[in-house]
Amino acid sequence: MAMNTIGRPTAAVANDAAAPTTFSGARGLLQPTSLIFETGSIDRTGVDLPPVKGVKSRLGGVARTTSTGNPGLSEPEAVRHYVRLSQRNYAIDLGMFPLGSCTMKHNARLNEKMARLPGFADVHPLQPVSTVQGALSVMDQLSHWLITLTGMKAVALSPKAGAHGELCGMLAIRAALDAQGQAHRRRVLVPESAHGTNPATAVQCGFIVDEIKAAPDGRVDLSDLKTKLGDDVAGIMLTNPNTCGLFERDIREIADLIHAAGGYFYCDGANFNAIAGRVRPGDLGVDAMHINLHKTFSTPHGGGGPGSGPTVLSDALGPFAPVPYVVTRTDGTLDLVEHEVDSDGEPFGRMVAFHGQMGMYTRALTYMLSHGADGIKQASEDAVLNANYVQACLKEHMSPAFDGVCMHEALFDDSWLEGTGVTTLDFAKAMIDEGYHPMTMYFPLVVHGAMLIEPTESESKASLDAFVASMAGLAKAAKSGDTARFTGAPYHAPVKRLDETRAARKPVLKWSPPVEANKIAAE
């Protein structure tokens, strides 16, 4: 083979000139990204379809005469458009994503591959049950894992995400209360530290929210809880481990108090990943708990979903689960119960069309089979260890919100930033320049300027050490008055800091042709 011996190797030359603006709008590997509406055209298509036959239409006079206005792109253009856009996203596959409460752990590709097997991906929800026994087995096996891991009695698989699972559990509570003639119980106790979906869910179920205070140690204030109990209380919605990343050590007492008062205990299971395989919520007195398969069992978040929020139920609430559910017939085959017994008078009913998030069930089951009972336990322990390690390494630089060890998340407040002119938001934006997705900020609300760091078990020690070094560096910079590093951040992202106020003041929520856009601007 002939080698190129004439080519001239480049040499690095020192150069301190400012980077020039390019003519293309690109910045090296970072390509410009126009909207499809600017590059596509209304008569272009990237899909080849067989010719139409000209069969006489039977649309009954309801034929569309207008354009959708949606441009098409050929396949190469489309692929390039989305690949360019993808390169403006951060992702766990790129680096650490310590977004507290959201549990950004590794998404195994085996799970993706399994979810795409034709017996799961290419089956219709209403095929005869005799033709979907494998799909029903996935639901059945997943149910077994979830019930066993949580020590609960039943599970409703169909909720579509965490918030939908909350709705399922709270509707079951409401149905149970109604069935007991306790329909007057309408007050639900929700700690101030709760995720926003908790109070929103309670209200959607027709309950009234009563906030309970946090004690100075970041847990439920038991004395405040006691004063709020009464015979109009339907239950409590408590996250455990809680949103401060702490285990509610009085949880059994809380459960007993709520039960003695005639209410039910809903547990927000978004943080189950800290204790899965080590602690069973059923042993803690929980009546209902959703599990975010997209957190604890690693189904990918996909930029905002889809999720899956199966809800495990106690003996008391099991009978109030929504349809559908899988049952085993006497001959060992599986069946789906899809109809409520009493079609309009039943207490609860159906939450969703079909059977829930099959694509997430297969991924979660694959995760469970891969990890096993031992691996799930180890994953929880590593998640907790990683968070404690980060907390231990950062406590000399930043101010932990609470003393002592944490569970799977390390929570800091912003007291250490006082007087620096740097806010939690600025600090977060500077983390973008460091190549990290910022931690969750300003949540939970009970901690001022909260910074909630969840490393997950997917990070190696080396990765954590690098993160800690970067955070420590930023902390020192903030304290030493290098404010511009923060207030002007991000400097190295595809765009500079975006103006969210402007977006909300004059909402532009879809593309309009330039003429129209100009007209709107002129008005």
């Binding site: 569309r64 098409g72 390169q87 290419d122 929800p125 066993t148 965490g162 977060a428 078990e457 909402p507």
Partner: protein, 447 residues
């Protein structure tokens, strides 16, 4: 364990840094009675890829894949051909393994695609504004109902008898607890007059579907005007998004809120989920909308960019006063939708819709020429209803035994006297002439 990077010696060093002797010391807040002494019983231990794959493959083999047989099921989920590039692109790490774009400077890929998605959905449905997706069509329908009650401050809801029974159930579950009163009309192939008659001074909305669950197409323009004249909103629902390549979109008929299923563009059947709920409305109601919204803005240099916006409607800001409790939505399914739509364009979509309609027309001709089979839908898009001489569920079972998935018996959706013999049959661009011939042959044999 292949997914866990920490080694035993890492763990030891880290415990030392934390200042505890063992991992147990990090779990001391757990009440003693709830502490387990080892891995949970009754569950298997970790397995390698090969073993797991074998297990899952066996389960997959125990179902009949739609693509392996003549297939005519619809009723809210449709089998379409999705270009290979769609599934490839949504599996790019940067889309698949990222979160809701809370930090827009490092999520422009996600927020811009959502902005494009919203624009395409608004165009498809002919509405002013669409959100960044709901869980699916049925939950979108449920949210539309409670939104209508918020907008009108009224408490009665009228469901047309042509609405998909699962949608009706899901909407009822949510609406009932918001203190709404439900007037559900009997299942009917066409009940415009009855819908209007049920509207009174306290009616917040009527919920109609086009194409409806029996496949029938109805122009709701006059109904919308009449309903609005009584101070109520018209909610238009759909389960087959491809229809609007050929069928008058709900926005043009004057619908106030449009809620439906986007699965059939970009997404596979998946045994019912995950799917993608499409939700659109008029500009004047945007602040009452549920769900996330992507909007255009500029960065500090004046460069165009996109962010999530109007979040004061949402649970993370408004908590118990939010328009909905939704947080996670259907991001990746919305991405699949938008990529497929971009590949199709207006031209491709119309072509695709025409192929669907033609396949359904041919199927309807073949089936309704069988003695004893009556075509119930006068007009339809890619799905229609027939009445068989006997029980439709039994006919479907018998056809399945002969290797044909011949449709969905209506009784599968709702058990209602008088509808036992009704069969819903859908055809798409994936349906071949041989499939149609097999269906007709088999159906003839089993009835």
């Amino acid at each position: 364990m292949r997914y866990l990077p920490l080694t035993p010696s890492d763990r030891e060093q880290m415990l030392a840094k934390v200042g505890v002797a063992s991992i147990e010391d990090l779990f001391l807040d757990v009440p003693e009675i709830a502490r387990l002494d080892g891995p949970i019983h009754d569950l298997p231990f970790a397995q390698g890829e090969l073993a797991v794959e074998r297990h899952m493959q066996r389960l997959s083999n125990a179902s009949v894949a739609a693509g392996s047989v003549p297939f005519f099921c619809g009723a809210g989920a449709y089998r379409h051909a999705v270009p290979a590039s769609v599934d490839h692109l949504i599996q790019r790490s940067e889309f698949l393994t990222t979160y809701t774009p809370y930090q827009p400077e490092m999520a422009q890929g996600t927020v811009q695609t959502l902005f494009e998605f919203q624009s395409q959905v608004a165009g498809l449905l002919a509405c002013d504004v669409a959100n960044a997706s709901m869980y699916d069509g049925s939950t979108a329908c449920a949210e539309a109902v409670v939104m209508a009650a918020r907008v009108t401050k009224r408490t009665k809801v009228v469901f047309s008898g042509g609405l998909h029974p699962h949608y009706r159930r899901a909407a009822r579950t949510l609406a009932k607890h918001s203190g709404l009163e439900i007037a559900g009309l009997p299942m009917a192939i066409n009940d415009e007059a009855a819908v209007l008659a049920a509207v009174d001074q306290n009616t917040a909305c009527v919920v109609v579907q086009c194409p409806n669950v029996f496949g029938t197409l109805t122009d709701f323009t006059e109904l919308a005007k009449a309903v609005q004249a009584k101070g109520a909103l018209l909610i238009a629902v759909f389960t087959e998004a491809v229809a609007f390549g050929l069928v008058t979109p709900p926005g043009e008929m004057g619908a106030d809120i449009v809620a439906g299923e986007g699965q059939s563009i970009g997404n596979s059947l998946n045994f019912g989920g995950p799917y993608v709920g499409l939700f659109a409305t008029k500009d004047k109601y945007v602040r009452q909308m549920p769900g996330r919204l992507a909007g255009e803005t500029v960065d500090a240099d004046g460069t165009r960019g996109f962010v999530l916006t109007l979040s004061t409607r949402e649970q993370h800001i408004r908590r118990d006063k939010a328009t909905s409790n939704i947080c996670t939505n259907s991001g990746l399914c919305a991405l699949a939708f938008t990529i497929h739509m971009t590949l199709l364009g207006d031209k491709g979509l119309k072509h695709l819709a025409q192929l669907n309609h033609e396949a359904a027309c041919e199927t309807a001709d073949a089936v309704s020429s069988i003695a004893g089979v009556d075509l119930l839908s006068e007009s339809f898009f890619n799905e229609f209803a027939v009445r068989l001489p006997g029980d439709a569920a039994k006919a479907v079972e018998a056809m399945a035994a002969q290797g044909v998935l011949g449709g969905v018996p209506y009784s599968r959706l709702r058990q209602e006297p008088g509808f036992e013999n009704v069969l819903l049959i859908a055809a798409t661009e994936t349906t071949t002439a041989e499939d149609i011939a097999s269906l007709a042959d088999t159906l003839k044999k089993v009835i």
